[in-house]
């Protein structure tokens, strides 16, 4: 997925399901695409919040697991070679002589002839561990990007959701020791994963929270507060992975100057925002009677792209023809897996 380009016909802001389908549809219309997302992986709130949930309102799929839907959407767009900018948070939008520039919070920027905002509920940032600010980048992380980097280390994973258990599962056998700390005695993660991790003998401390982090300069231990025992225990470790979930916020998009209503971007029937050349689709947009569902967002994506195509080329037709009429590279990709 790593492919850097800084200019395309369409810049899609947000790689959730609707953003991915928007990028696919732009590819289908022969438009080049850059996809930006603040998260390191595609899928937006489906990946961040409920990868294991079964989704039942996607056309053609009686049931599909969240992460399988995301995988299928990525496979659908991949043949069109979109340029991925994951882990980049869109910060500012400028328009100069018909070229839009999206600048990210890390200072990088991309440009496009049109922008489609598919930012959903906004920018997801990991919830941070209390009293740990000083340890960011030296012993505390919020994602496990490369499990092998933790080889031989004593790792404490904090959280009880899918990410915490997935990482415990991945790191068991790689890290020297994995201890999972969770504030409750119930887990939010998928039961199969919980059972697998517990079956592997990963040490799990329930009703426990990380009270503080110790070590200078490197992290050496965490102090664990146990609600049952009402005491602090020192747990020696080399690395802490905080999987405490995400917090979403509309973030900088609220300040782009787009017309908003109830903190959503107002669009017309062509999915145009108040800024000519900027479109929106999915849960970030609003109009009278909008129903916030994935099925609705997919339709909006097609509408937005077809009208964005006319913005890019006024001679183009908003009606693209039928996807069945043309041969395309997409047919080479595997069909989405049925569950």
């Amino acid at each position: 997925m790593a492919d850097a380009a800084d200019h395309a016909d369409v810049v899609v802001v947000g790689a959730g399901p609707v953003g991915l389908f928007t990028a696919f549809y732009a590819g289908l219309r022969g438009l080049s695409v850059i996809i930006i997302d603040s998260l390191d992986e595609p899928g937006g709130q489906v990946s961040a919040l409920y990868p294991e949930k079964i989704i039942r309102d996607v056309a053609g799929f009686p049931e599909i697991r969240g992460r399988d839907l995301v995988d299928a959407l990525v496979r659908q767009v991949d043949p069109f070679k979109p340029h991925w900018r994951l882990g980049h948070s869109a910060n500012r939008l400028l328009d100069s002589a018909g070229v839009f520039t999206v600048t990210c919070t890390d200072g990088t920027s991309v440009s496009g002839r049109t922008v489609i905002v598919t930012g959903g509920v906004g920018n997801f940032t990991p919830r941070t561990l209390p009293n740990s600010d000083d340890f960011a980048g030296r012993g505390i992380s919020y994602f496990v990007r490369d499990p092998s980097a933790l080889r031989g280390q004593r790792v404490v994973i904090v959280g009880g959701g899918d990410s915490a258990f997935d990482w415990a599962d991945t790191l068991h056998g790689v890290a020297a020791e994995v201890v999972l700390v969770h504030r409750r005695d119930r887990f939010r993660a998928h039961q199969d994963t919980v059972d697998r991790v517990l079956g592997r003998g990963v040490r799990v401390l329930t009703n426990s929270q990380v009270h503080s982090v110790e070590g200078t300069p490197d992290l050496r231990a965490v102090m664990i507060a146990n609600a049952d025992a009402n005491e602090l225990t020192r747990l020696e470790c080399d690395h802490v992975v905080a999987a405490l979930g995400f917090v979403a916020n509309l973030g900088p998009i609220a300040d782009w100057g787009l017309s908003l209503r109830d903190r959503k971007v107002v669009v017309d029937r062509l999915m145009r925002t108040s800024w000519p050349g900027v479109f929106a689709a999915g849960d970030i947009c609003t109009y009278e009677g909008r129903v916030p569902l994935i099925a609705v967002g997919f339709g909006e994506a097609a509408t937005a792209v077809n009208h964005a195509a006319v913005h890019v080329d006024p001679q183009a037709s908003a009606f693209p023809g039928h996807s069945t009429d043309e041969p395309g590279p997409r047919r080479l990709s595997a069909p989405p897996a049925l569950v």
Partner: protein, 116 residues
Amino acid sequence: MTFAITDSCVDIKDRSCMEECPVDCIYEGDRKMYINPAECIDCGACEQACPTNSAVSIASLGGKPGEWNVQDNADFFGVVLPGRPTPLGIPGGASHLGRIGADTKRIAALPPRDPS
């Protein structure tokens, strides 16, 4: 379809839901918590977090005695609460508002929970 917090939260307010909510849409009233139906994204994190099983999907309340809680959650945001000039509406996040020292009429009228 969203989630709602039922009256089994009254006078308990564990507030774990508030900490788990990824969109900060759970607001603290005087005696219970309330979910803003316009801000909830239906993820279900609150349901897992709540120790009193008070955070439930609206669908699960259909036809049950607790169904009135659905409207009551909405009323917390749509009706002018005591001591406030306007309805809360869609504030875009609970944490910057802090505790709202009021409840809906129906919740305020409930007898205090037996401490046992």
